[in-house]
C-alpha cells in the first residue's frame, strides 16, 4: 500500500474542491471561436471525452507505445487513465522492455473566457508505483499537481489579423516522488500552434481546401527541471509537427529534437491517433456521467 504524501493529498483535495465548484465546460478543445487540437507531447487544458491510441514514439534508443483514455465525470471535470509499453535498448546495455506504471490524472477546468479564448485547468497526475514491469517502471509513486492553460489570439486587433489563428497552451507541474531519494522536479512545457481552420473561417478564406484547412502546424516542447542543485540539467525535447483534425478523430506527427545532450541523442519521432469520444458517442460514452453537456 502506498501512502500519499501530504502535498499530494492537499493537491487532490484542491482538485476535488475545484471540481465541485467548476463552471460547466464544453466538449473537446472548443473555447469561444477557437478549436484547440489535442497536443501529443504535453497535456492540453481540456477536460474531455477522448481516447489517444496509439501514441508511438521513437527517441534515444527507446520505442514507446502509449494508451490514454479520458472520461468526463462532470462537465469540466475528467479523469484520464494512461499506460505505456517501453522498449529500451541503450548501447552496451541489455534490452529492457515492459509496461510503465499506470497514470491516473484528474483535471478540472477552473476558468473559461470564451471571448478571449482562454482556459485554465488544474490537475493532478498520479503515476502509480509498482504497477509496471520491474525493468522499466519506478517502484514508488510520483504525484504531480499541475496547472494548464490555453490561449487563442482571436482577440488581436485588425492590424494583426493574420496572427489571430495563433494559440498557445502551457503546463507546469511539480513532480513529487513518493518514496526513495528521487529528486523533485518541475515538469513544464507547452505548444505554439497556428490554426489554418481559424485562418480560413475567421480571418480570410485562402482557398486552402478541405484537407489543408484542417491542419495545424505546431511546435510543442516538454521539459523536466530537477529542483535540487546537482540533480542534473533541464532535459526535454522540442517537437515541431503537424496535426490534422477531422470531425471525429485527429492524426498528429512531430519530430522530437533533444534540448541538449543530456536529453538524448539524435532526432526522434512521435505520432498519435486520437479519437473524439464525445463526437463518436455523443449520447452515451461521450457525455459526462453527471450533469449533462453544456
Amino acid at each position: 500500500m502506498h501512502m500519499l504524501p501530504k502535498g499530494a493529498v492537499r493537491a487532490a483535495a484542491l482538485v476535488l474542491a475545484a471540481a465541485i465548484t467548476a463552471s460547466p465546460g464544453q466538449a473537446h478543445g472548443v473555447i469561444g471561436q477557437r478549436f484547440f487540437p489535442a497536443t501529443i507531447a504535453t497535456d492540453d487544458p481540456f477536460a474531455a471525452d477522448e481516447l489517444a491510441f496509439p501514441t508511438v514514439s521513437w527517441f534515444d534508443h527507446e520505442t514507446d507505445v502509449d494508451f490514454d483514455y479520458s472520461k468526463t465525470i462532470l462537465p469540466g471535470f475528467a479523469i484520464e487513465v494512461g499506460m505505456g509499453h517501453v522498449n529500451a535498448h541503450e548501447p552496451g546495455e541489455p534490452r529492457a522492455r515492459g509496461f510503465d506504471n499506470l497514470k491516473i490524472s484528474p483535471s478540472v477546468e477552473v476558468y473559461r473566457n470564451p471571448a478571449h479564448e482562454f482556459i485554465l485547468t488544474t490537475g493532478l497526475e498520479w503515476s502509480v508505483g509498482g504497477i509496471g514491469s520491474r525493468s522499466i517502471a519506478e517502484r514508488s509513486s510520483t504525484y504531480t499537481p499541475t496547472v494548464k492553460f490555453g490561449k487563442g489570439f482571436g482577440d488581436l486587433p485588425d492590424s494583426l489579423k493574420y496572427l489571430r489563428p495563433l494559440a498557445v497552451t502551457g503546463t507546469v507541474g511539480y513532480a513529487i516522488p513518493g518514496g526513495g531519494d528521487e529528486p523533485k522536479s518541475i515538469e513544464w512545457g507547452g505548444a505554439i500552434e497556428y490554426s489554418l481552420l481559424y485562418l480560413q473561417n475567421n480571418v480570410r478564406d485562402e482557398g486552402l481546401g478541405r484537407f489543408v484547412s484542417h491542419l495545424t502546424p505546431i511546435v510543442e516542447f516538454a521539459f523536466s527541471s530537477p529542483t535540487r542543485s546537482g540533480a542534473g540539467l533541464t532535459t526535454g525535447t522540442i517537437n515541431p509537427g503537424l496535426i490534422w483534425s477531422g470531425q471525429r478523430l485527429q492524426l498528429a506527427a512531430e519530430a522530437m529534437i533533444p534540448l541538449n545532450r543530456a536529453s538524448g541523442n539524435g532526432t526522434g519521432f512521435i505520432a498519435q491517433l486520437h479519437f473524439y469520444i464525445d463526437d463518436l458517442f455523443p449520447h452515451s460514452l461521450g457525455r459526462p456521467i453527471f450533469g449533462g453537456r453544456q
Binding site: 469561444g32 471561436q33 478549436f35 473561417n201 475567421n202 480571418v203 480570410r204 478564406d205 455523443p282
Partner: protein, 114 residues
C-alpha cells in the same frame, strides 16, 4: 428563394454525418472576401446537421443587423437573406448547435467595394 441555395442545402443535408461538432465548412461570402456587388444572402455550410437553435447575424459597421427576413436552416446549411447592401464592411456572427447539442461559434468580415 434562390433555388441553387436550396439545392445546395438539400445535397449538404444528405452528405451530413450523423452527429458531431458543427464546424464551419464553407461560407458565401467567404471570410475576408472583397465584393464588388452586394450579396443577396449569407450562406454557411457546416460539417454537421444543425439544430433550429443555430443562428447567424449579419451586422453593418455600426453594429446594426442587415437581415431582410427569417433565417433558413436546413440540414447542415444556414442562410440569412439580406437587405440591399451598400459599400462598407460587414460582420457575420454565427453560432451553431449541432443536432446532438454540441455548440460552436464564429465570426468573420467581408467588404463591399463601391
Amino acid at each position: 428563394m434562390n433555388l441553387r441555395v436550396l439545392a445546395c442545402c438539400a445535397l449538404a443535408s444528405v452528405a451530413a454525418p450523423l452527429s458531431a461538432h458543427a464546424f464551419l465548412d464553407h461560407a458565401k461570402p467567404a471570410a475576408g472576401a472583397v465584393l464588388h456587388a452586394p450579396p443577396e444572402n449569407v450562406m454557411l455550410l457546416f460539417s454537421d446537421g444543425l439544430d433550429p437553435e443555430s443562428n447567424v447575424e449579419v451586422l453593418d459597421a455600426s453594429g446594426h443587423s442587415v437581415a431582410a427576413g427569417r433565417l433558413m436552416i436546413s440540414g447542415n446549411c444556414i442562410m440569412a437573406p439580406l437587405r440591399p447592401l451598400g459599400p462598407g464592411k460587414y460582420r457575420v456572427v454565427w453560432h451553431a448547435v449541432s443536432i446532438d447539442d454540441h455548440r460552436t461559434q464564429g465570426a468573420y468580415e467581408f467588404v463591399i467595394k463601391p
